[in-house]
Each structure stands twice: as structure tokens, then as C-alpha cells.
Amino acid sequence: MDIPFWSKEIETLDRASLQAIQLERLRDMVSWALKTPFYNKKLSSVGIRSPEDIRGFRDLERIPFTTKDDLRRSFPKGLLAVEMTEVVRIHSSSGTTGIPTVIYYTRDDVDRWTDLLARSIVATGASAQDIFQNMMSYGLFTGGLGLHYGAERVGMAVIPIGGGNTKRQIQTMKDFQTTILHVTPSYLLHIHSQFEAEGVKAGDLALRRAFIGAEPHSENTRRKIDDLLHIQAFNSYGLSELNGPGVAFECVCRKDMHLWEDAYIVEIIDPTTGRNVEDGQEGEVVLTNLIRRAMPILRYRTRDLAFLHPEPCECGRTHRRLSRILGRTDDMLIINGVNVFPSQIEEKIMKVPEVATNYQIHVDKKGALDRLTVKVEIYPKLFLGDVAKLEALRARIREELRSSIVISPNVELHEPGSLPVSEGKAKRVVDERPKD
């Protein structure tokens, strides 16, 4: 098999040299982190006051974990390590309770991140010959712009179409003979379900690959995508705290995702004890960003559950492979690629005076797409028999939720006492999506 590389030397570097690079970059990151109020306090508390205090990998374990809550509490600039004049990009993701997390990048940070994406893209066999239809959302979400920059660097023709508008997506695939899609697996299957209505067959199109990500999917789903669209789908992993997409990407072997270890230190921990587990064992993914100076993040608890393959890949890359995401250690839901925390929904519902505090979050599938329904109970005293007022209430709740969680849920009004009363938010979520 012909194995394409973007940076062959670094991608196939022996483990010892790779670790030397990691250590050197970790020291660099610690020096930047110490400039931020947040890490200065955190690192000082464990006796790390200068980069020289990192003598080896053992010292990594001294560094306390960073959590999403930490990022939230540091909003907006508690983790900013450079002057704002050095920042060229700001991304943001929704927080668990309304306060977003914000990510900063210098020009060099964007450049290094872009390079990882170019590396990821080329690892799949894609090249400058390809026509790339980027169907991920642009904007504050890192998924769209991240791949866009990487694809341009590779030299592909990039169509920055963004998410949604199925008719136009299909028409664009035809018009430009798109060869590569970047899309969530559920939306790709939805697009396929609309082929017939648009008078298109998979064989009429020039599609060869899809980069799929932003939501969990099974190997069966990938095979289904391959078969239905006559393409090869490649799994990808990333999160804005660690720059965005391109943390890990599948190569042509498609046996899980190479995690770019010159750019990230990956640890898999037991989420209860916080201790590292052996390669091959499932645990929580903890990542240290080695390439972003504007906003260093050390030992970030992703809440994603996965494992690392102990054995090397047939492609010759020495960077270890991360399994697909097997679950979460928190209650975050992923709805059509968008991260949603039940607490965000709860917070909004509590502010609506016309509804009671009991509610239920229901997720299922409508066709290939996820469907989110928020069920609330109306207050009897506010019911005056007026249908229009109730419909306006539904619309208002939907809009309130949309402003917080980005996606627009279906809102159902229920009679008081009809929703199951539960303690603790986990039971308020009913996820009926099939696992496969």
C-alpha cells in the first residue's frame, strides 16, 4: 500500500526522539502557562515555578488536571498568556451553564494547528487534486475553519459551504464534482436519504472520501456510509480546548486515529483515581496542548472515554492511535454534532415563569438525524384556554433554548405531574437513539 505523508520525518520519528520533542515543548508550554494568573497559581501550588522544574515525564504527573469548569471560571481572559495584540483568532464553545469557554490563538498557533490538519488530510490519501466540500459549521465552532485552513494548505479546492441546506449541498456536489466531504456521520446519512428526491445516485457523483467527526458513531455506521455512498469514511477527533479538529485522525489503514504526539501529550486515566492506565485499557482522555502559546492548556480532562492502541500501525507512523470515543464521564449529549449539556437546558427552563420546574430531555432519531425534544409542564394557573398563548410560549422556550444550545429543540407542553419526577439530572435525560 502506498502510504502518503505530509511530514514524514516527524510522523515516523522514533518514540524516544518523539518524547524528547514532547518534553522540550512541554517546558515551553509551562513557561507560557506561568504567565497566566490561572496556571501561575496552579503550578506554583505544586512547586513548579519555572520550566526547569519539569525535569522529566514524571513531573508531568505533578501538574494538576485542568477541567472545563476551570476554563469557565477563568472566562474571559484568565488563561490568556499573550497580549491581545498577538491574538489573531478567537473560538468559543458553549459552557455547561451558559458561560462559554473561549480559546485564543496567535498567528503561529493557527499556523501550527493548520499544519496538523494538513498532515491529517494527507494521511487519508487526499491531495491537492481533491475538491473539498466543507459541510461543518463555520463560526465560533472550530470544526469548520480548522479543516478549511488545513485543506487550503494541502492545496485542495475548498468549498466553504458550511452546514445545512441539503438541496444545495447535493447540487454543489454535482456542480463541482466534489471528491471529499467533511461532515457529521448523521448528516451525511441524512444527505444520502435525500439523494433519490434530488434525482441523484451515489454513482453519479465524484465522491471518494468523507472526513467524519464531531459525534460518536459505530464501526457499523462507518461501513454503512462507505457502502451507501461508495466512499471511504475517515474518523477524526478534536476539541476546541485542544485547538479543534486534527488532534487525531485516521490514516489510509482506517484502524483508529493517530494522535499527533508532537503536538499533544495524551494520557488515559482512570476517571475515579486520576491515575494513568496502561495502553489498551479504556479510560478518560487527558490532553496537554504543546503547540498553542496564546492559551496553554495542560492535562485537560476531556471527559471522553477511549483507549490507546499499544501496537504500532501498519502505515509506519509512530504516533499512537486513539480508539473511537466510547462514551463520556459526564452527561454531555451530542446532538447532530453539537455538544449539549442538560444543565444548559435546565438553566433556561428555570427562568420561564409559565412552566414548572419538572422537565424531561428526550433524544431520538428522526431518519438519520438526531431529534431533541424538551418536555415541560405548564402551570395550571396560567392556563386560560388560549391556544395562541400556549403556542407563543412554546416558541419562546424554543428560542430561549436555541440561544443557549445553538440547536433548536422541539418543545412539548405537558400537564402538571405527568412527567416523571426524578432527583438528579441524569434521569431527566431519555436517550432513545439506537447504539448502532
Binding site: 392556563f383 386560560l384 384556554g385 391556544v387 400556549l390 412554546r394 422541539n410 412539548e412 400537564e415
Partner: protein, 143 residues
Amino acid sequence: MKITQISVFLENRKGRLYDVCSLLGAHHVNIRALTIAETESFGVLRMVVDKCDAAVKLLREHGFVANFTDVVAVEVPDTPGGLAAVLKVFADNDVNVEYMYGFVEKHSDKALLVFRFEDTDVAQQVLAKHSISIVTKQEIEGL
């Protein structure tokens, strides 16, 4: 004279309408007129009954969301164009009808219709001025 309509919120759940009707039936409340306003996610049952205070109390005791709404029951000649003639009076006098529905049984040779107006008081004045007869609460209870 206004009469009282009962409005009941019905969530989209199998058998919910039956629950209301069987509860009222078991307590000898007679439904005189009824309609359902439905949306994709819920419905509102509107009805005129013989014992409305007792009916609302009963429904609330059984966990239903129920309330009173003022409506007017109008006698309309049961002949072609009968309803149109009444509606013309409303249109000519800027009386807005929010919704309307028919009674289950006939009151003499006239049809009985329930009207919910945007402004019930103004509507009643217009009806009186044009000698359109309306049905009283006592008559409803005696039906």
C-alpha cells in the same frame, strides 16, 4: 348573557380525551357542546356543560388543567344562510370571532352555536341591538 365554557389542556397522550369524558360521565356532568383545538403537540378541549363549576372542580381534583372562559351561545336560524346572516352583523360591526362551534343538540327549530369573541361585552351589545337571541346560563343548565 355570557355563559361559561370549560377549557381543558390536553397533552398529546393516548386516551386523554377519554379520561376527561369518562370522568365527567361518571359524575353525571352532561356535555352540551364541545370542540377541540389541536396543535402538533397539544390540544385544548372546549366544552359547555350543564354543571360547569362542579365540572371544573372535579377535573382539577383529578389533575387536569382546566379553566373557565366566557363565551356566548347564539341562536341561529336553522336554514340556509342562517349563520351567514348572523356573521354579517358581526362583520358589519367589527366584532371579531376567535372561534365558534355547534351544540350537540338542537334547541327548538334554531341551531345553537357557541361563540368566543375578542370582546365579549361589545359582542353582546351588538347582538342585543340586532335582536339576535342568545341563550342564558339557566337555559343551558336546563337543556
